[in-house]
Symmetry: C2
Subunit: 199 residues, 2 copies
């Protein structure tokens, strides 16, 4: 059971994370200073630095938070009989929810920054390697259960499916006139045919 | 036939475009000033402003240049009997060539900027709408020739294929340890099954 102090510590970290996200959205990661984040969070620098020693450390916690969220969704898929439908539910949510579109934008921002900032690049690589590994295991599990074509390389299949969901999410941002529900249906057909489900 | 003056004008614009790309790669779009681009191109501001009145105008010409290049590749596909192989050649090149990976990074940078800069957002939307339209026509043509499942919505299929190639390109950047050739093979299978080619 978490102590009151731990709960306060985590609440404060969440407050900073949300303030940082608001700043990054407004001005971009590179242009945001720790002072901007302090102002947004309504905290003094002395107080904020007790929780995070740099912008990169805040990026790290944002990526970590996203990863845990995605991982818990994928973990839920792994344990289910209807792997295919469960996975599509996750992917469709990622592509259509407004909040997730914000995340696509943030991901682009972080990726652009990773080009120039080795510390951010290392965070992004670690974050994505863990996600890819988990997605690979979910597919391998579905193959073992006879739900996915066993001839596919699970890791490459995971890479492709993650890439497809991500790329389609970006495309939906770029083409606001495209019917989101139609795109999700096309994605469903796309994935089903690839996984060899014949639906 | 182009006059010598026109050729000089275009050569100068290309020189500026390449100088700007070098700056954006080093420091990012947002952090690069027109003065930085002048220094990189070895031109005076007075001279550079004869060609471009803003960073956004340079972004526009870079997007335009990329679009014409991609369009000429897609146009070449549209006219060929072996639509499927021709398309995969283009997509595989986009995903594996080092130069194209640079382009993926630049695309992320522009996309992040488009969040905050309406002029850049308009360029990105226009650029992508034209590409999507051309890719849609190529797929519709292949459907008419019996090379692609006629039951697919050509525009949504184009959106998915562009998204998949783009997303996989990003994934390959994020996972430098993944075997690029294996990923291209998986992509080939993915696309073939989706298009209903049964290969």
């Amino acid at each position: 059971m978490r102590t009151v102090n731990q709960q306060r510590f985590e609440a404060r970290r969440r407050q900073i994370r949300e303030a940082a996200l608001a700043c990054f959205k407004r001005a971009g990661f590179h242009q945001t200073s720790m002072a901007d984040i302090c102002a947004e969070a309504g905290m003094s620098p002395g107080n904020l630095y007790r929780y995070f020693d740099s912008k990169e450390a805040i990026i790290e916690t944002i990526c970590e938070h996203d990863r845990l969220e995605v991982m818990s969704r994928i973990a839920a898929i792994g344990g289910r009989q209807d792997f295919f439908d469960a996975m599509l539910t996750v992917a469709a949510a990622a592509m259509t929810e407004g909040a997730e579109r914000e995340k696509s934008r943030f991901a682009c921002e972080v990726l652009a920054e990773a080009m120039r900032n080795e510390r951010v690049a290392a965070i992004v690589r670690r974050h994505n390697a863990a996600l890819l590994e988990m997605c690979t295991q979910a597919i391998a599990h579905a193959q073992a259960m006879g739900q996915v074509d066993p001839g596919l390389d699970a890791r490459l299949a995971a890479l492709l499916l993650m890439g497809t969901a991500e790329g389609l999410g970006i495309r939906l941002m770029l083409h606001p006139d495209v019917d989101g529900a139609g795109a999700i249906d096309a994605f469903r057909l796309h994935v089903a045919r690839f996984l060899g489900l014949g639906r």
